[in-house]
Each structure stands twice: as C-alpha cells, then as structure tokens.
Amino acid sequence: MLARVADSLYWMSRYLERVEFSARLVGLQLQRLPVSSAGEIAQGWSLVFRCLGAQPPGAESFGEAEDDDYLFADGYALTDFLTFEASNPSSILASLHGARDNARQVRDCLSAALWTCLNRTYLSLRGTTLVDEWTKEPERFYAGIVEGVQQFDGICQGTLRRGDHWCFMQLGKYVERAQLAATTLLAHCGGPFSSETGSDGEHWTNALRACNALEAYGRTQGGDVNGAHALTRLGGEPAQPHARGFAAERRWDRLEAVDPLLADRPRATPFAVLARISGLLSGCADAPTAVQQRHLAEILALYQKFHGLLEQEYVYYPVHV
C-alpha cells in the first residue's frame, strides 16, 4: 500500500471518529437544555468544549474560558460554532469535510458502498443549516450524524478486506478515540465535580454517555455512576469499546498486522510508547485526582508521540536517492 494512502486512510478515520464523538457530545448537551438550570447548562457547555479540547468562539480575546463565561453564551451560537462554523477547524462539518477529502484521495481503495455512505452523510450535512434543525428536534439531527458514521463503520466491517487499508483505518480510529477519551477523562477529573457528589455522578454519567459506554457500565456495575468506577471503565477496562485501554490493545494488534516485522522487535519505539501508556493506565484508576490528572496529561502527550512515530515509520520515512 502506498504510504500516502495509509496516511489518508488513517486521517479519514480520525476525522470520522471526531465527527461521531462531537455529534454525540453536542446532541447530549442539547438533550439536557430543557431540563437543566442556567448554571448546569453553562457547566455542560464548558465540559463539551473541554472534552473536545476546543475553545469557544471569541476565546482569543478573553483567554481561557471559565464555566461562568458560558452563563452568558447563546446555546444556538455555541451549537452552530461546534457544528457548522467554517472558521472552526474542528466543527463537525469541517471534520466531515476532512474525512471526505481524505477519502477522495484514496477513493480507489474504498468500496463504492463505503464512499457513497460517507458522501451522502457529508452532502446531507452540507445542505443543512442549524436554522433548519433548531426548532425541530436537534437531538435527532445529531443522532442522525452519529448513525451516518456508524453505518460507515458497519459497511467497512462488511466490505473491506482485512489488509493494510483496514489496519490503517483502524489505527486512525483508535488513536483518535483514545485521545478524545483521554481528553474527556481529563476534563472530568479536573472539573469542579471531581468529588463524589450528586453532580459528580451526573457528569460522569455524561462522560460515559459521550463515550458510548453508559449502557455497558450499567450492565456490569449497575446503580449510580461514580467517578472512580467510571474512570476504571473508560480508562482501563479492555472490554469497553471506547476505553483507552482497549484502544491501546487494538492499536497493538493493528501495528503487528500492518508490519509483521514489528512483532519481532518489541523494543521498537511505537511499541515502547504503547507499553508506557498501558503502564500509566493501570496505575490511574485508583490514584488520587492529582495523580490521575498528571497521568492523563502524560497519556495524551504519549498518544501525540505515538502518532508522530507512526507517520515517521510508515509515511514520511527518509529516502536517500
């Protein structure tokens, strides 16, 4: 497989994962609007932006946003910014555009059904404005975006050969998923609800929901959600589809599949990074909040490093002519 193709598939999957995560997060926040107080709504928006690692519009003029800043924010404007805003490179539309652009680069490697699914999802979003959806059922609109990405994923499972293309798509998906999950955990650990209060439970519930992990949590834990358990589930439970631990395992598999030679050199740098991430994860769940935060921050940095190593190993390796 061409190195450039690997890169495009990897990025296509990263963008799609971002689209799904963002749409789920915004949809959840919109669901809560009618039943929440002004303070809860402000904290909700604050968490949404922190989970996405994003700054609200105008942040460059007032610096780091505080929860109170969102008290005066207009929910419609924030939603539009996160969904359609052209100047926001992480908006859902911009991410979907990024996914489609990368898919176009490698269109010959995708099945017709796969391309059509992605193209249709993109065209449908591009042809919509928030005005069209805001007065109807915006949650459904965001659920539709999530479904579009999940359908893509399903077609992928059903039509794509388990070869190099598949591996790099999986790598992209899990690297992005892991980074988003880590950012989400960091946002919750560092937030004002890190103590075990009722609000803490609610916000961890939302964190699990955002990561599509609430139902699985309920089945295995039952009862109320608490921060330590949620962190364990999201961070270190391999069976959780959105857990970073799982993501790390998956990437390990994928890496071996992409390049069987790597399996013979377990000291290769990407493996070493993954091993370090696994170590930090296992020590994270029961640690004090400050340690958790430190570990999560390091994990985020390691994912960034891992991403760079992948590119160096497979895409931008030096050639001496």
Binding site: M1, R4, R104, W115, T116, N119, L123, V315, V319, V321
Partner: protein, 498 residues
C-alpha cells in the same frame, strides 16, 4: 409521435392518465433524430425504449430522472470546473433517456476506429522514427515539427509494441451524410468512467427494457485496459503498475480513481514516486517498490520537470530517462499529441491510405487549414458559416461558431486568425444529429456526439458503447461538460431488438 399505445409501460407500471413526455416534441427534418424517423415513428431498434419512455407520464419520467441524478450525486460521479466560485466539484449531468445504436451501425464505427487508431500509431512510430511520411510529402514536415505537441525528446525512443496510443477516445458525429470523425483524443482521453457510471444508473432505471434489448456490455473495460497495460510491461512477471493522477483537483480525478479501482492498480501522484538507479519507484508502507507500467493521466508537459516544464510539481524528476532506457512503459506515450493536433487531423485520411492502403471507413469532417492561403481566404470569407477552432485548445474553448456569433465577435475572431493563421482550422457548421432529452419536464431534441474508446496493445479493440455527449442548451452544438454539456448512456443493440 406514433408510439404504439398500451396501458402498460415496458417496466410493468400502469400508465398514468397524464401528458406523454413526447408531446410537442420538435422533430426538425434538418437534423437526423436518433430515436424517431421522419414520420415520428420510433426507429426499429428503438421501439421498446420509445414505448417504455412514451408510456411514462412527464411526472414519472421526471422522477426517474431525479433518481438517476440522485444516485450519481451520492456516488460522487463528478467533474471539476476550474474557476467556478460556487463549487469546483460538479455532478456529471446525465440524461435519463439512453441513445441506441443498431449493431450494423456500430460495426461500421468499430471497423473505422480500429483502422484509424492503427494508422495513427503507425504515423507516430514513423514521425519519431524514419519520417517516411514526411519525406514522401504526404504530411508537411513543418506542420509536424512546429506542432506544440511534437516532442523531439521522443525521437528514436523504442516504444513497446510500437503502441504509442494505447487508449484513444475519438469523437464521432452523425450528420445527414452519415458518421464522421470530428477529432481524435490521443493524449489523455477522458470520459470512460462516465460511460460506465451512466450505464449503471440507466440500467437501473430501465431494467426490463435493458434486458430485452440485449445491450452489449461495457463493463469489461477495466479488465481489458489492465491487459493492455500488462502487455506493454518491460518485465514479464507481475509488473508493478500505477495510474498517475494530478490529484483531486483535476477535472477528471473521479475517473482516475475509478479506473485505478477497476484495473486494480495503484493510484499515484508525483509525490508518491521517485527515480533511483534507473528505475521508477513508489513509496509504500513497506519501503520502495518498482513501477514498470505507468498509465499517466498527466499531460506531457508535466510528467518530468527535468525534461519538460521545469515548474511542474505533478510529475517525477528523471521519469523520462527511465522511460527512454526502456525500464518503464507509459500509456499513452509522450508526444502522441502531435497526432491529435487539429491541423494534423486533416491528414488522417491520407495517413490511412499511406500506411494501410485502404480508404477511410469513417471520413473526417471537411477541414480548412488557415495556414494554407486558400484555406485562410475561404475561412475569412465564410466565417458566418464555419466553426473555427484554435489548434492547441480543447474542451470547447478558443472556438467560434460563426452562425451563433455576432458580427463584432466574428470581426474580432477574424483579426485573431489573420494575426496567427497557423493556429486555426475551420470546419463547416455541422447539422449534428439530435436525440430526445428530458429538459424542463418534457422530451426535447438536443444535439449529440459519440466518444467510443479504443484500446490498443498487441491487438486493437473498441468498447461496444461510449460516452454520448449532449449539448444541453437549446440549439447549442457544444457538448463539452465544462461548457454546459451532459451525457447519455449509449446502448449498442441488435437492429431488430424490440
């Protein structure tokens, strides 16, 4: 129109009690209609289709058209228009009523194109080799050597199988005098993917009629193209093959991706390739891998900045040297543009006689070369009757349709011709045949042409079909997609299919 009445459409649906899409169809005796004869009855090979279409109401046909358009939109069957602020990526407009050609007419086109492509390949091998045709005065040497697409770098280069043109798309029109070749596209002809996409969409629209007509298949194009590319390879076993594209912003990018998938070869850009120790290599995730055959969809000018345009970022430095040494086959070969130059075109019938000793099976359109004093005088005196084309332009640009132009536009064009007569040729305004197209909810006749695709390697073959281009604007003769043209599916059917 005298379509046999029936209360059931060919595809089994009840005929709604509404206006037929053929109502008010303007059957002009000055133009050959591809579906209806002079009396308004369907031609024998079109009966089943005419009945199926005629049995639909306008609303139903419009819905069918929308369904076709939607499937093309979702599948991303697009082309790119440069400088269009609204959106650079446009869906290819496909009319929902196919054009049918009977097998006997197709047989003539097929034989004519095979003859033509063989003669053109012999011409290219000759002008870059011994130059007999130039010495014998059949084609003026200065016309060839001064042609911007003549590549002296190709002189003496050994081309595998002498197949300079492996993929050809010649444009054929039908006038009152029968079929004529309007031009040959021998460099990087495009449109074949749209032919295949049209077929998919239209077959879904008329499943029963399609089956009943026993339409000849076009779907094996990808396999045949791959076979031709393999036949050119300098290595015997498992050649590394790639299709070189300028990238996603190229107007034909959809086609490049489509063909790479159909042929199972890598779709590469210049950045994916490099030259090392006399070989062309591509960067893969497992290191560098050789490329033995390159189906390049990048113009000559841009394939190698060391030999052609130095500012090209689309090609690969050193690529031409690999080719010249015989370590790489390229389709089409560099320099083929000299044979599809609009002025050289006038000599193709002479080439056929010279190399093959045969009369052309399909003739050219009468062409006046402005580089000749007589041709120039005739062109200027009859500007209002002629279509004048700049020899170096394509895509419908740089041309004047005299009968559609104002007096001042003609005067301005005449000044351009006088200033640089070598750059222009003139042809009579052709009464291109017309075919029914769904426009504004009813069927209206529009001018059409036909671009069949020829593959040439160890043998020459023509795909049974092609891209039927349509001038969608009323009265327009310009069929290019960049100029408001669209396309139709072409069905090659038995003359008696009903």
């Amino acid at each position: 129109m005298n379509v046999r009445d029936d209360d059931r459409a060919a595809d089994g649906e009840r005929k709604p009690d509404r206006a037929s899409p053929f109502d008010q169809y303007d059957l002009d005796p000055g133009f050959f209609d591809e579906m209806l004869d002079a009396a308004g009855s369907p031609r024998p090979h079109c009966r089943a289709l005419a009945k199926a279409v005629g049995d639909l109401s306008r609303d139903e046909l419009e819905r069918l058209h929308q369904r076709v358009a939607r499937s093309l939109l979702h599948e991303g069957i697009t082309f790119t228009v440069y400088g269009d602020d609204e959106s650079i990526e446009r869906v290819f407009p496909v009319d929902c009523v196919p054009r049918l050609l009977p097998a006997n007419e197709w047989a003539l086109i097929e034989r004519g194109l095979i003859q033509r492509v063989q003669a053109l390949n012999l011409f290219l091998a000759d002008v870059y080799g011994p130059g007999r045709i130039l010495r014998d005065g059949i084609v003026p040497p200065d016309l060839v050597r001064s042609c911007p697409n003549y590549r002296p770098e190709m002189e003496g280069v050994k081309v595998p199988l002498d197949a300079y043109v492996s993929v050809c798309g010649s444009d054929i029109v039908r006038t009152g005098d029968g079929f004529k070749v309007l031009e040959d596209n021998l460099r990087v002809p495009s449109g074949v993917s749209y032919m295949l996409a049209c077929r998919q969409a239209i077959r879904r629209a008329y499943p029963r009629v399609f089956r009943g007509c026993r339409v000849r298949p076009v779907e094996r194009y990808g396999r045949e193209l791959r076979r031709v590319l393999e036949s050119l390879s300098p290595v015997a076993d498992s050649p590394g093959m790639a299709l070189l594209t300028p990238g996603i912003h190229n107007s034909a990018y959809y086609e490049h991706a489509f063909l790479a998938a159909e042929t199972g070869i890598e779709l590469v850009r210049g950045v994916d390739l490099l030259v090392e120790r006399g070989r062309l290599l591509m960067r893969t995730i497992r290191g560098l891998r050789p490329v033995d055959v390159l189906y390049r969809r990048v113009d000559d000018d841009f394939i190698d900045p060391q030999v052609f345009r130095a500012d090209s970022l689309l090609g690969v430095p050193g690529l031409f040297e690999v080719y010249r040494r015989g370590n790489l086959a390229m389709a089409n070969a560099p320099g083929t543009g000299v044979a599809d130059d609009k002025a050289v075109y006038a000599y193709v019938p002479s080439m056929i006689r010279y190399y093959l000793g045969e009369e052309p099976i399909i003739d050219n359109v009468e062409t006046h070369l402005c580089r000749d004093p007589d041709g120039l005088r005739y062109t200027l005196e009859h500007l209002d009757e002629l279509v004048v084309k700049a020899v170096g332009e394509s895509g419908g640009y740089g041309m004047l349709v005299g009968s559609h132009a104002s007096a001042s536009e003609r005067a301005e064009f005449a000044a351009r011709i006088r200033a640089n007569p070598q750059n222009y040729i003139a042809q009579p305004t052709l009464a291109l045949s017309r075919a029914p197209c769904l426009i504004d909810g009813r069927l209206q006749p529009r001018h059409v042409d036909l671009r069949p695709f020829v593959l040439h390697g160890a043998e020459t073959q023509v795909v049974p079909g092609g891209l039927c281009r349509v001038a969608l604007r009323e009265g327009s003769l310009v069929v290019n997609s960049s100029q408001g043209g669209g396309a139709k599916d072409i069905w090659i059917v038995d003359a008696t299919a009903d």
